[in-house]
């Protein structure tokens, strides 16, 4: 567990006044607040860090303890005992209307020095000033990686988010980069407010020979020169099987054919599929025998 320099987190010096701390915190909160940085895990992490720094430095008691022990925070327990003795002869600490945004989920360093998170509900926001406002919990963001084959079929998955299992049905045809909202699986609400939502972003890895654009699939297929010139039949792989294709005589390289309904499932439209586009790449023969070369020369002479 590492020591955290809360002054550095807020970009202030140790001599900063309460006003300076509040100002620095507000400035950084505006920059990293999750509502102005949706789907940004880095900003979310930074926001938690500055919340934690503010929780300590914005509270005179905690700041005093932090300043006194600093890197030797492991000995803070002695301070706690001394403080308990003092408390009996003193009234309220009178923190006033210090504002915080909740945040919860504090670091091990914080937990080690100050114990629990002081009654802050995880992810909730408060309006400060002691008002009993009911706020919806924070929205959470997560990423789920699937391969293209998985995304082809509707499937059920169980995810673990913040220690809780969520059973999820992922409809076939989900798009790379698509985000879906799972209501009520975000942070816990504050003062009886409802839970936030979980936003799940899908990253689809494609390790197949097919390329995807929305609901359509694309694939290049090699056709030998003789079949391309004389015509014939070839068998191609579709995403979930095979298909026979007739090649017309004198087919050119780059010719594209559409296999209707052989593409990717259309999201949330069961039984409907996009199309598969096959592009022919005509293969020029190599390692020709003398006889073959002679025959090609004969063919060339017809054209001259």
């Amino acid at each position: 567990m590492d020591y955290i320099d809360y002054y550095k987190v807020l970009g202030i010096t140790k001599s900063a006044s309460e006003k300076d701390i509040k100002k620095a915190y507000r400035k950084m909160a505006r920059k990293y607040h999750p509502d102005v940085n949706p789907n940004d895990a880095t900003a979310e992490k930074k926001f938690k860090e500055i919340n934690e720094a503010n929780e300590v430095l914005g509270d005179p008691e905690k700041r005093k303890k932090y300043d006194q022990y600093g890197k030797d925070w492991m000995h803070a327990e002695q301070f706690e005992k001394a403080k308990a003795q003092q408390r009996s002869s003193r009234g309220s600490t009178g923190q006033g209307a210090r504002q915080d945004f909740g945040g919860g989920d504090f670091s091990d360093f914080f937990e080690s020095m100050f114990g629990g998170s002081g009654g802050f509900s995880q992810g909730g926001y408060s309006a400060g000033g002691g008002r009993q406002t009911r706020f919806r919990g924070q929205d959470l963001n997560a990423e789920l990686r699937l391969n293209l084959r998985d995304a082809y079929k509707t499937q059920k998955q169980t995810l673990t988010v913040n220690g809780k299992n969520i059973r999820l049905t992922i409809p076939a045809g989900i798009e790379n980069g698509q985000t879906i909202k799972i209501p009520g699986h975000g942070g816990v609400g504050r003062n009886g407010g409802p839970k936030g939502d979980l936003y799940l972003k899908f990253i689809i890895d494609n390790n197949t020979s097919f390329k995807r654009d929305g609901n359509n699939l694309y694939k290049d297929v090699e056709v030998d020169l003789y079949t391309a010139i004389l015509g014939g039949e070839i068998t191609v792989d579709t995403f979930d099987g095979k298909a026979k294709l007739k090649i017309k005589p004198e087919t050119q390289t780059g010719t594209k054919v559409k296999l209707k309904g052989k593409g990717f499932p259309i999201y949330k439209k069961e039984g409907q599929y996009g199309d598969l586009y096959i592009t022919y790449n005509i293969q020029t023969p190599t390692n020709l025998s003398d006889k073959e070369k002679e025959l090609f020369k004969q063919l060339a002479s017809f054209k001259n």
Partner: protein
Amino acid sequence: MQQEEYVSVTEFCNGHSISTTVITQLNEFGLVHIIERSNSLYLPMEELPKTEKMLRLHTDLNINLEGVEVITRLLERIEEANNEMIKLKNKLSLYE
């Protein structure tokens, strides 16, 4: 009007300790769509997450309602641009 689909603006504002003028102003900006029934104002339940997000900007970050309007519209544009970028990135993979 089904009861579960709307929440009274007065009740909502009391719950959040804000003045009802905050919601009516957001309505004037076109950021929420409140309806009036029997001399009372109601907010559709489906607009609550968006409305509460705007309130957090207002109360957590001390941003005035004009600022909230600008931020909300810019965030909407960023979301549209991000969606467009995802589509284009996916299309670009066709040529890789």
